[in-house]
Symmetry: C2
C-alpha cells in the first residue's frame, strides 16, 4: 500500500533468510546507501533475523538508480521504479534514487511470514505515482510535537510513499520555528516549545534522506496571535496579547510599511532555512473584526479604492508574493487567497471544498486538495478514500486544467492531540489517503483497501509508530492496572465524536493545556470490530439469516459484549477518568443482549413481537447517541438484526 | 516496591493536579535537579497531565538533601530518606541526594488513580536499605545490548532502588569495551559491536545521575576467547581463534610475564575509564584443558611448587590483585577465586551456591550473593524472592561475619536474549530481587509481593521498558497479523523451559547469531494466569468446591482455553514460526475441556469414573511435558481439579 500502478504476479517466492543481502549499482549516492541501511534494519526488525550475508554470495536484492538524490528535492522528479522478484532474487531499477527508495518500500511490504519462512512472492511491478504532490500537514502549534515524534511520522510517510511534509509552524497558539532575526517570535510566542534552527535543519535532512520535501507554513494575516506577543506592532489592534487569547482574534496589519519590512527580513531568513521551492503563507480564516475596528485600516481601504477586507487581504498577499519571489520561493496558500491579482505561479490548497480546486484550475492556478483529508475530523478511512482530487467539480475540467491539480495533502490539526496520541490520529488512516494520491484512479475497492490498511498498520508499528500501542498504555493509565481486557473490549467498539462536535461541546475557547487523557483521547478514530460487525450483519442478511458460521461469530461477539459490563463496571468506578464511561459500558451490554435475543428469534423462525422490537430499537437509538463524547459503533448493526428478527427481512 | 523499612499510614490523600510542583532545598546539587526533572516527566507521562505550576504557590513536593552526590558514588553512602505525605503536601528529607532520589521513586509509586483524581495517600515513611550492594549483572558479550536498551534498564534499576550495574563486558563471544591501548580487543573480538570509551563514560554518567555505580567485569583467565582473536599470545594454546569457537576453550596463559605486562597496561587504562572503586575480574569456570595440554605451563606449575591448576589460578589472581591495588581498585571475582593467598580486601561473588558466601565470610572475605538470582533460568519471581543472602549457611554466621555480606546481584546472562526481549527476561521479576535486597528480612509475603510486582511492572513500562509490549510485537510478527487475540491466550499460559534445559536441547555449541524469534523467545518467563489459576483451584478446594464465584471464574477461563484451538489452529498453520506450537494449542484445548468436565462432576456431586480420571490424568501428564521448548503451566492445576472430581476431595 499504496497499490502499485501495475502488478504482474509470478510463480514461486523469494526466501528471506539470514543470508539476505543488498547491493547497489548506478549513480553512487549516500541517500541510496542510507536507504539500504534502513531497509536492512527494518527487515531485520520485522523478521527478527540478524542478517549475516555470506561473503561473495549473490546479493538477494540488487538496486540500480541512474541518478542520485537532488540536493533539494523537486516537485517534478521522476519517482518511478521497477521491482522484479523471483525465486532467485529481486531487482529494483529506477531513474532516480527517489524511485529506488519507493521500490524498497514496496519490497519491504512484500515480505510476509509463510508456512516455509519469511518470503516475498515472485512479482513484476512497474510503478509510478499518479500525483507529484502527496503531503501530510502536521500542526505543531496547537500542541507542540517533539522532534522524535515528528521523525517517526516522517518514517511513516516514507513507508506509504508520501513525499511532502507540510509543517504548520505557526498559529494563534504558538510560534514554533526559531528566528535569529526576531527572537521574540519564539521567545515570547512559544512558551519555550519550539524547534531551533539546527533542529529544523535536522528534520529537513531526515526527510530529504527519505524522499520527502518539507514545506513550511507561517500562517498570516490571520491565525497569527503568537507573533504579536513579541511584536504587537504587527497586529491590527492595540494588544497586549497572550497565547491563551480571548476577545477578538488579532490579525496582521497589512497597511503599515513596517509590517512588510519585518516580513522581508523574516522571509529572507526562513527562505534560507527551508530549501524547498514552495513556501506556505496560510491565508485562511481571516477574521476581519480587527480590521473593521481600526479606523486607520478602514481609511487605507478607502484610500486605495478597495471594496472590502477581501481586497485588503489580496493586497497583502500580493506584497507577500513579491517578497517570496525575491527569495526564489513559490507561494502556497489556503483557498481563501485565490484572487485574480495574484500571478499564476502560486499554488492554492483547497480545504473548504472540492469546488475551489476546480475554480482555481479554471483560472489557471495549480492546486492541491485537502478537503476530505482532514484526519482530525475522525472520519473512517473509507470516507477519505472515496474522495479523489479529480472527482466532483474537477471531473469536468479540461485535460490541460486537470494537469494543474498537483495532488493532495492530509491534515493533522492539533487541537486534540498530544505527542502521546498523535500517531493514532494519523495512522493507519493516512495510508488510505496516501494510496488515493499514488495509485491509479480506478483503485477504489474499499474491502481490499482495508485488508492492505491492516497489513500496513502492522508495518508502521515496526517502524516505531505508536498508533496501536499508545492506546494500551493510555487504557492502563485510566484503569490503573496492567490487565485491561474488559476495558479493551469497550474501547474496541467505540469511536470519538466526528467533525467539530467535540469543539461545540467544549463551550468556549479550548484550553490547549488541558490533559488529553480520557477515553476519547485513547480510542482509535475508527473501530475495526464495528466495521466487521456491520459487514457480517450484511452477509448474514444476504444468507437469509441462515449462515451458521456467521451466526456463530455474531454470537461470540454479542456474548462478549453482553457480559463485559459485569467485569468492567468495578474498574470504571474506581477511576475518575473512567467513571464517565459507565453508561457507555451498560449500553454495550444492552446492545449485546438485544442482539442475542434477535438471533434467538431468527433461529426459532419466530417473528419478534412488536412491543419488544419497539423497546429494543428505542434502546439502540439511545445507545447510538453520544456518551462521554464517544459513539458506540456497534449499536446500528445490531439495530438491523433487531429489525430483521421482527420481520424486517426473510429468515428461516 | 521495594517495601520501605517503616510505613505509617495517615488519613486522606494528596491530590496530584495540573498545578503539581517540586521545590528543592539543602545542598544544591545538579544530580538532585535532574532527579526532579525526571520525576516530573515521569509523573506527567503516568498521569497524562501536562503540569503547569502556579507561580508563587506552595510546592506540592518539597525535597531537602543535606549533601549532594559524591563525584564517585561509594558503597557505604547513606541511602536513607524520610517521606511524609499529607493532604497539604509531601516532603522528602535525606542526608544525601542518593537518599532523596530513592524517596522520589517511592513518591512516584504512591501516586495512583482514584475515583477523585490522581493522588498519593497520606503516609509517613522512614526507609533505608538492608544491604549496601544491590546489583544487576547484564551480560553484553553473548548478545550485544545497545546503549538505549542498557539505559532504560538502568532507569528500571533506579525505580526499584538497585544501586550497582555489573557490566559483564567480555566473554568468549565478544569483547565489548573499547581499549585505546589494545584496539584489536574490539577490533577483532567484537564483530563491530562494542561501546566506545565516550559511550562508556555516557553510561557511567547516566547511572551516576540515578544513584547507580557501574562495576565493569573483564572475565579472566577463562571465558576470554574474544581477547585472543587480536592477541593470541595471551592464550595458553596456539590459536588462531574465532568468536564462534570450537574445540577446547582457550584460556589466558598465567605463566608468561608478557601477560602481566599486557594486563598492567590494560587495567591501568580501564581503571581510569571506570571510576568505581570495585573492579570485577571474573575468575569463574576455568576450564584447565589448555593448561593441561601445554607442557610449558605444566612445567611452571611444578617449578613453582604448585599442586594443580587451582593453585595456578590463585597465583594469577594474586598477580592481578596487585595490579588492581596499584590502580586503587578493589578486586571482585566469582566464588572460584576464593583462596587464602588473596588479601581480605577482595569481594567474592557467590554463584554456585549459598555455601561459598558463608565460607568466604568465615574466612573474613566480603561477599555478594548471586546464587538464586539468575534471571536467565526463567524461575518464577517467588522462587528468587525466597532466597535471602542471610539464609542457608549464612544464617549461622556470627554478627561480625554477617556484616561481611554486602548484598546481592541478579544476573542476566545473555545466551538467549536480544535487545528485543531482554527487558522481559529481566522485568518485572528483577523487582522481587531488588525488594529482597532492600526491604527488611521479614518481608516475605508472596501474595503481597505479586500485588506490588504487578503495580511496579506497569510503572516500568511507563519508564520505557518493553517487558510487556515487546511480546505483542513478537506475537504479531509470528502471526503476520495485527489481531493476535487467540495467540495471546496461548502465550499467556505457557512458560519457557527452566534452568539449562534449553541448552541441553541445543545439542552442541549455541549459535549466538541464530534468530531468537520463536514463541519461547516471546513469552514471559512467568505466567500470571497460571499462577492465578493455581491459587483459584486452591481456594476452590478450601471452599469444598462450593464457591460459585470461583467456579464461574474457573469456567470462564477453561471455556476460553477449550475453545481457543479452533480459532488459533489456522493461524498456526500459516506461519513457519508457529507450526511447532500446534500440539501445545491442542493440549490447551484438551486441558480446558477436561477441567470443564471435572467441574460438571463436582457440580452434580457425582464421582467421576476411574477410567475417565485415568485417561484425563494421562492427558495432563503429557500436556505438562515440554512442547516446542515450552511448558503448559495450567495443566497441573487442572489435574488437581480432575483428581478432586474423582473423589480426591470432598464436594457437594
Amino acid at each position: 500500500m499504496p497499490l502499485p500502478a501495475s502488478v504482474q504476479p509470478g510463480s514461486g517466492q523469494l526466501a528471506i533468510t539470514q543470508s539476505f543481502s543488498v547491493a547497489t549499482a548506478g549513480a553512487h549516492d549516500a541517500g541510496l546507501d542510507s536507504g539500504v541501511q534502513r531497509l536492512v534494519g527494518q527487515l531485520s526488525r520485522q523478521t527478527g533475523i540478524p542478517f549475516r550475508p555470506k561473503p561473495g554470495a549473490t546479493p538477494t536484492l540488487q538496486i540500480h538508480a541512474d541518478h542520485g538524490l537532488e540536493a533539494v528535492q523537486k516537485l517534478d522528479e521522476d519517482e518511478s521504479y521497477q521491482l522484479t522478484v523471483s525465486e532467485a532474487g529481486a531487482q529494483i531499477t529506477a531513474p532516480t534514487t527517489l524511485g529506488a527508495l519507493h521500490g524498497m518500500q514496496t519490497f519491504l511490504q512484500l515480505v510476509t511470514i509463510t508456512p516455509n519462512g519469511f518470503a516475498a512472492p515472485a512479482v513484476k511491478i512497474q510503478d509510478q505515482p499518479r500525483f507529484p504532490w502527496r503531503g501530510l500537514l502536521i500542526d505543531v502549534s496547537r500542541h507542540f510535537i517533539p522532534l522524535d515524534v515528528l521523525k517517526r511520522n516522517i518514517d511513516g510517510m516514507a513507508a506509504v510513499k508520501m513525499n511532502a511534509l507540510h509543517w504548520h509552524l505557526s498559529d494563534d497558539q504558538g510560534f514554533r520555528a526559531e528566528s535569529k532575526k526576531f527572537p521574540k517570535l519564539t521567545g515570547m510566542g512559544s512558551a519555550g516549545q519550539f524547534y531551533t534552527q539546527d533542529e529544523i535543519r535536522d528534520v529537513i535532512a531526515y526527510a530529504h534522506d527519505r524522499g520527502i520535501r518539507v514545506v513550511p507554513e507561517f500562517d498570516m494575516p490571520g491565525h497569527s496571535r503568537s507573533w504579536f506577543l513579541g511584536y504587537p506592532e504587527l497586529s491590527s489592534g492595540a494588544g497586549p496579547y497572550t497565547l491563551e487569547g480571548g476577545g477578538i482574534d488579532p490579525i496582521t496589519d497589512p497597511t503599515r510599511e513596517s509590517t512588510y519590512k519585518f516580513l522581508e527580513k523574516f522571509i529572507a531568513e526562513m527562505a534560507k532555512l527551508f530549501p524547498d521551492a514552495y513556501f506556505h503563507i496560510g491565508g485562511d480564516e481571516v477574521d476581519g473584526k480587527q480590521w473593521d475596528a481600526n479606523p486607520k485600516i478602514q481609511e487605507f481601504i478607502h484610500a486605495h479604492g478597495m471594496k472590502n477586507n477581501q481586497d485588503l487581504q489580496a493586497y497583502f498577499n500580493q506584497r507577500l508574493e513579491k517578497i517570496l519571489t525575491k527569495n526564489h520561493k513559490i507561494m502556497v496558500g489556503w483557498d481563501e487567497i485565490l484572487h485574480p491579482d495574484l500571478p499564476k505561479t502560486i499554488v492554492v490548497q483547497s480545504w473548504r471544498g472540492q469546488q475551489s480546486l476546480a475554480v482555481a484550475a479554471q483560472q489557471g492556478y495549480r492546486g492541491i486538495l485537502s478537503y476530505g483529508y482532514y484526519l482530525d475530523l475522525m472520519w473512517p478511512a473509507a470516507r477519505h478514500y472515496a474522495i479523489d482530487p479529480m472527482s466532483g467539480a474537477a471531473a469536468s475540467l479540461t485535460p490541460e486544467q486537470q494537469k494543474l491539480i498537483l495532488g493532495g495533502e492530509s491534515c493533522q490539526w492539533a487541537e486534540w492531540v498530544t505527542p502521546e496520541n498523535i500517531d493514532s490520529h494519523i495512522w493507519p488512516r493516512n495510508a488510505a489517503i496516501a494510496e488515493r494520491l499514488w495509485s491509479p484512479q480506478e483503485v477504489t475497492d474499499v474491502a481490499a483497501m482495508y485488508t492492505r490498511l491492516n497489513a500496513v498498520s502492522l508495518d508502521l508499528e515496526w517502524l516505531g509508530l505508536t498508533h496501536r500501542s499508545a492506546r494500551e498504555r493510555m487504557l492502563q493509565r485510566m484503569a490503573g492496572a496492567e490487565d485491561i481486557t474488559a476495558l479493551r473490549v469497550l474501547a474496541d467498539v467505540v469511536e470519538p465524536l466526528k467533525d467539530y462536535n467535540r469543539w461545540s461541546d467544549a463551550q468556549g475557547p479550548i484550553d490547549f493545556h488541558a490533559p488529553l487523557n480520557r477515553m476519547i483521547d485513547a480510542v482509535y478514530p475508527e473501530s475495526d470490530p464495528a466495521r466487521r460487525l456491520s459487514d457480517l450483519v450484511q452477509a448474514f442478511a444476504q444468507s437469509g439469516y441462515k449462515d451458521q458460521a456467521i451466526e456463530d461469530q455474531l454470537r461470540r461477539w454479542l456474548t462478549l459484549w453482553r457480559d463485559n459490563d459485569a467485569k468492567l463496571h468495578p474498574l470504571l468506578q474506581q477511576s475518575f477518568l473512567l467513571q464517565e464511561n459507565v453508561a457507555l459500558s451498560q449500553n454495550l451490554s444492552a446492545v449485546g443482549a438485544a442482539g442475542l435475543q434477535a438471533l434467538d428469534y431468527l433461529d426459532k423462525a419466530q417473528i419478534a413481537p412488536d412491543s419488544w422490537k419497539t423497546q429494543q430499537l428505542a434502546m439502540i437509538e439511545q445507545a447510538k447517541g453520544r456518551s462521554a463524547n464517544l459513539l458506540l459503533m456497534v449499536a446500528a448493526p445490531v439495530g438491523q438484526l433487531i429489525e430483521a428478527s421482527a420481520g424486517g427481512a426473510p429468515h428461516n
